[in-house]
């Protein structure tokens, strides 16, 4: 099997012995017929760029308001540095809002959760960049948090942003739009996604796992956030369990697709600059499988993500933003934000 990996096991670490489910499914859909284009407005007419950039502006504004500088200033400046970084694409919030609106929810219901997703995302990136972790001096084209504010402040900024996300959801979500029972599910979903079975697991394996852990790592680190964002949007709008599971698979596929394409773009850049693919920071699909296979995988993931949305025809054109998002993740037809992540 093309994508099967033999994962090394150590006495303390457990690795799944087979390929991760998302890649297995992608392989199976490879030879299946492509999903049909919806009868409604075709993707080419939908202006994803405007939709996205408008949302970015709204989210940025709300995030700015959510983290005002007060005493002690240093921690707020550190938090704002990472959350309000220039050129951030805000993909998780956009997916969340789009998923919420897909099922008839109002974006006002989604904004607090969308902001919370960015806060916890920023928190995990701040910790990821620490010297004892990935040791990254820069992030999104700017100095990483700890290089400016110090390691101690960076640890605390992350520790503050995680709970702020939850608090923001509780304090800002209109309860007339979202009943508390659903809010609890959203909170549980985000907590699960960042925790020991989600992004933390991915990061741990990225640091401590062997070179064959790339599938698991990518799913946990990137698929998880995509999945969480889409699911939260669906939960907020009161989608059914079946619909939520669709969005879960959709979000996971898009999240991983995004990273596979990022890896391909980075590999190409490396090759153009250095003449070879020698750079392999952490786990990369291209490094593990080569460009050709990575391209195949990207196409499989694209098909898979769209297939999940195909069962939602009854929502008409509301599904178009999420549909277009898949093509953007694969093709990067335009640039969003000033710089790449």
């Amino acid at each position: 099997m093309v994508f099967s990996t033999v994962l090394t096991s150590s006495p303390q670490l457990y690795f799944p012995k087979t390929t991760s489910p998302i890649i297995q499914r992608a392989i199976r859909t490879c030879s299946a017929s492509f999903s049909t284009t919806p009868q409604r407005i075709s993707n080419s007419q939908f202006d994803l760029r405007t939709y996205w950039t408008t949302l970015i502006q709204e989210i940025n504004h709300k995030l700015d308001e959510a983290i005002p500088v007060q005493y002690p200033q240093q921690i707020y400046e550190a938090m704002r540095h990472s959350v309000l970084a220039k050129g951030v694409k805000r993909a998780p919030p956009v997916m969340c809002v789009a998923a919420c609106e897909l099922f008839g929810g109002h974006r006002l219901a989604a904004f607090p959760t969308a902001c919370a997703l960015e806060m916890v995302h920023a928190a995990s990136l701040i910790h990821d960049d620490l010297p004892c972790m990935d040791d990254d001096p820069s992030r999104r084209g700017q100095p990483s948090n700890h290089t400016i504010f110090g390691v101690d402040m960076a640890i605390l900024a992350g520790d503050a942003l995680f709970p702020l996300g939850f608090r923001h959801i509780v304090s800002h979500t209109p309860t007339d739009l979202v009943p508390e029972t659903r809010l609890l599910k959203v909170i549980a979903e985000i907590a699960r996604a960042v925790g020991s079975t989600g992004m933390a697991a991915g990061q741990f394996l990225d640091l401590e796992g062997g070179p064959n852990a790339v599938d698991f790592v990518q799913e946990k680190k990137y698929g998880e956030m995509g999945e969480c964002s889409a699911v939260c949007g669906a939960l907020l709008a009161g989608a059914s369990d079946e619909e939520i599971q669709r969005l879960r698979r959709y979000g996971r596929a898009v999240g991983v697709l995004y990273q596979v394409v990022d890896d391909m773009l980075e590999a190409k850049l490396d090759k153009d600059i250095n003449g070879d693919n020698k750079k392999n920071k952490g786990k990369s699909y291209v490094a593990a499988y080569g460009v050709e296979k990575a391209t195949e995988l990207a196409e499989d993931l694209r098909a898979q993500a769209k297939k999940e949305l195909d069962g939602l025809e009854k929502y008409g054109e509301k599904v178009v933003p999420l549909y277009s998002f898949v093509d953007y993740a694969a093709d990067r037809g335009f640039s969003v934000g000033d710089q790449a992540e």
Partner: protein, 222 residues
Amino acid sequence: MIHTMSLMHDDLPFMDNDDLRRGKPTNHKVFGEDVAVLAGDALLAYAFEHMAVATKGVPSERIVRVIGELAKCIGSEGLVAGQVVDICSEGNADVGLDHLEFIHIHKTAALLEGSVVLGAILGGANDQEVEKLRKFARCIGLLFQVVDDILDVTKSSQELGKTAGKDLLADKTTYPKLIGIDKSREFAAKLNREAQEQLAEFDPEKAAPLIALANYIAYRDH
């Protein structure tokens, strides 16, 4: 879980740099800094997940409210604020009582306050009762730290279960340093009294555990 993760992060080399905690080597000493950071993050997340998912027999509105309350207590307006000010005060000779109190109210008392208030809300307390308990918690939280400062000066590492004499070594501002051991002990007694006053109007039997807790904190020797 939250308490543990805050201690794990607190003990890290770039924070308080502690080798010993609760009588054992600190987390990062055993598992490495990277794992200690991640494990702390994972515990933080799990605490919220657990509250949201496992709380039974309580209306959703109350669970949501306690989640918000806990998040406020441990973030940049609570626990983290105390830690930040603590870090920025190290080596600073001008730290006065107000400053010290800010650190302790936020670093130590915030989580105690959170715990007590969460319990009260979950138990169906009205707003007035919640505020009484909040004040109770602030008193015993501060009390805890005053006693901690006194013990650091008067006890050995083995008795304490954590590294003793650190405060002096790190030139940290403490109550004994600012007002002397005797006045610190007086202040501790005052805080204990104030705390228990908040519980005066409650059923003594039901308030007994909290009263006992206040006394334990005041009279503990490690």
